[in-house]
């Protein structure tokens, strides 16, 4: 039991990079990017192939990250320069990446069991939190830079940031690229942790990423960017703990996890809007009553 929780913490942190990638597109850019399912495998494939060919695990991991960056640039170009609908450009890239990943791996599954990995010399539970903190600090620092502000504004009010001189095509491409880079980094690390890369390893990643983002927001809040990104990482860990616990329930099978994930995301998407409607109705009632009361006393509120 305790062992599986430590395992959940470890894989939660490894998948957290993927969740942070989804956070960038889904929350910051407001761009539902389905490239994720393909780019996760791209990262895993590049890392596994390089490691099995004797390259250093660090170089292999960074190359996986780079592969994701390139995949993201392609999706971004399709969307901004090709003017293809956002969902569609993601789907197209996801499909294209299947073939590309197959070319990289040249077979559907590569085992790197007993080969070198960044987890060989250092214990995963020591190195993984360090990588997570470094990535979080760099990402947050970037999101508070001039370019990062422009990126955030692109998802918030595109017309405004364009009127202040930001090339929003460029900021979108940068954001989608960075997002898929993180997703691929996650794939590269997961491949080393599980000692294999599989051509279907990325299937359903986008939904898992969304679930992590949403769970993190719901449990830990999101008052600003730093708070939000930390919540996403913690959300990813909670998701893995939920998975670990669900796998111990006898009548559930491992393959049910995708259904459970989908249900978590559906609840999380439906609940806030219903709650908002109810809250607004209540608020409106309360305010109307107040205004009626104030109106009878003939005092008017105002000011800026």
């Amino acid at each position: 039991m305790i062992d599986s929780l430590w395992g959940a913490l470890e894989s939660g942190l490894l998948y957290a990079f993927m969740a942070l990638g989804v956070y960038i597109t889904f929350r910051i850019l407001d761009f539902p990017d389905l490239t994720v399912d393909g780019s996760f495998t791209t990262g895993a494939a590049i890392a596994a192939v390089m490691i099995s060919n004797g390259y250093s695990p660090i170089l292999a991991t960074l190359s996986g990250f780079g592969g994701g960056l390139v995949a993201g640039v392609c999706t971004g170009l399709l969307h901004t320069k090709g003017k293809i609908n956002g969902l569609m450009s993601g789907i197209l890239m996801m499909i294209a990446l299947y073939s590309i990943n197959m070319r990289i791996m040249s077979k559907p599954n590569i085992s790197i069991y007993n080969m070198d990995s960044i987890f060989i010399s250092v214990k995963p539970l020591i190195i993984v939190p360090i990588i997570a903190i470094v990535v979080l600090v760099l990402l947050d620092r970037f999101l508070y830079s001039d370019l990062g502000l422009a990126l955030r504004a692109t998802g918030d009010n595109e017309r405004m940031i364009r009127s202040f001189g930001a090339n929003t095509d460029l900021t979108k491409i940068v954001g989608i690229s960075l997002s898929n880079g993180l997703v691929a980094l996650s794939g590269a690390l997961i491949a080393q942790q599980s000692s294999f890369a599989d051509i279907n390893g990325g299937v359903g990643m986008i939904v898992i990423g969304l679930a992590s983002v949403i769970i993190g927001e719901a449990v830990f809040g999101a008052s600003n960017v730093i708070h939000h990104t930390i919540s996403v990482v913690l959300g990813s860990i909670i998701y893995r703990i939920v998975v670990a616990l669900a796998l111990r329930v006898e009548w559930l099978e491992a393959s049910d996890m995708k259904l459970i994930t989908a249900i978590i995301v559906i609840i999380a998407l439906v609940l806030p809007s219903t709650r908002r409607v109810i809250k607004q109705k209540k608020m409106a009632k309360k305010r109307s009553a107040e205004i009626l009361l104030v109106g009878q006393k003939k005092t008017m509120g105002g000011g800026m």
Binding site: R141, F142, Y144, S145, D146, L147, G148, L149, A150, R152, A153, D156, N157, R159, M160, I161, R162, S163, F164, G165, A166, N167, T168, N224, G302, M304
Partner: protein, 264 residues
């Protein structure tokens, strides 16, 4: 400073819905000019703004700022010269970002956006100084999300963001139209003092006739995509709303119709 030469723009060209949005527009503004623009619905006022700011490209003619032909530049490249405030208070600011982050983005206008921190201590001090000039207490709320501000506050912030980096041209597109009268008056006063203090070359579209006459040193009237009346400082001094309406009817042959027109 700003020149439009023979600018024309068609909407839906060569279709049954073809419409002349702008027809052979000639407009020259001197540095420090404050021109107010009025006209009926569909007169081409907003198209004029969009052509200058680069949201739309003219079909013919060119746009020149400071002797440089910028007709071919996209909107984001022109923004180094142009500050703009939109009619919709939601349009000029990013709601999920803080006041200081919004100001930092405006501060970066015309500069290369890189990896240096958007909000630094030195900039924060500058932002606070500028905000305090608005006199509505925003300088105490640098970390507040802009989405929490009222329409009037957001428009005041938009105005500050459009002007505090000293743009060559300031475009105001009915920027008080969506506000209630008291807030509209406050924004108008802020506009007047900022434009005067910084001596900004300004083009302001308004549907408020009284405001159009009171503000600025020149007034132009548009109808059917043309500039039909251009009133200089001398003649503007003893202009009244009635005389303006009269002149409009005389030249255009029909009554000035604008469903939002405010006579003053």
């Amino acid at each position: 400073m700003l020149q439009l030469n023979h600018v024309a723009k068609l909407f839906n060209p060569a279709t049954p819905d073809e419409k002349i949005a702008l027809f052979d527009i000639q407009l020259h503004m001197k540095p420090g000019d404050f021109v107010t623009v009025i006209g009926s619905n569909g007169a081409g006022k907003s198209t004029l703004m969009n052509i200058i700011s680069g949201v739309m490209k003219p079909d013919t003619g060119n746009v020149i700022i400071d002797n440089e032909d910028i007709s071919h530049l996209p909107e984001y490249r022109r923004s180094q010269w142009i500050g703009r405030v939109f009619q919709d208070p939601m349009a000029g600011t990013a709601p999920r970002m803080t006041i200081e982050e919004n100001l930092a983005m405006a501060y970066a206008r015309g500069k290369q956006r890189g990896f240096s921190l958007g909000v630094k201590a030195s900039k924060r001090k500058l932002f606070r100084e500028h905000l305090s000039r608005l006199g509505i207490g925003l300088d105490e709320r640098l970390h507040a999300k802009v989405g929490m501000l009222s329409g009037g506050e957001r428009q005041a912030l938009s105005l500050l963001m459009a002007t505090f980096t000293n743009p060559q041209i300031l475009l105001l597109d009915e920027h008080t139209a969506a506000l209630d009268p008291a807030r509209a008056e406050l924004i108008t006063q802020l506009t007047e003092s900022i434009v005067r203090e910084m001596n900004l070359t300004t083009l302001m579209v308004t549907h408020n006739m009284e405001q159009a006459i009171r503000l600025g040193n020149r007034l132009i009237m548009m109808d059917g995509g043309r500039i039909i009346l251009d009133i200089d400082e001398e003649r503007k001094k003893d202009l009244t709303v009635e005389r303006l309406l009269g002149e409009f009817e005389q030249i255009s042959g029909h009554k000035l119709s604008d469903d939002r027109l405010v006579l003053g």
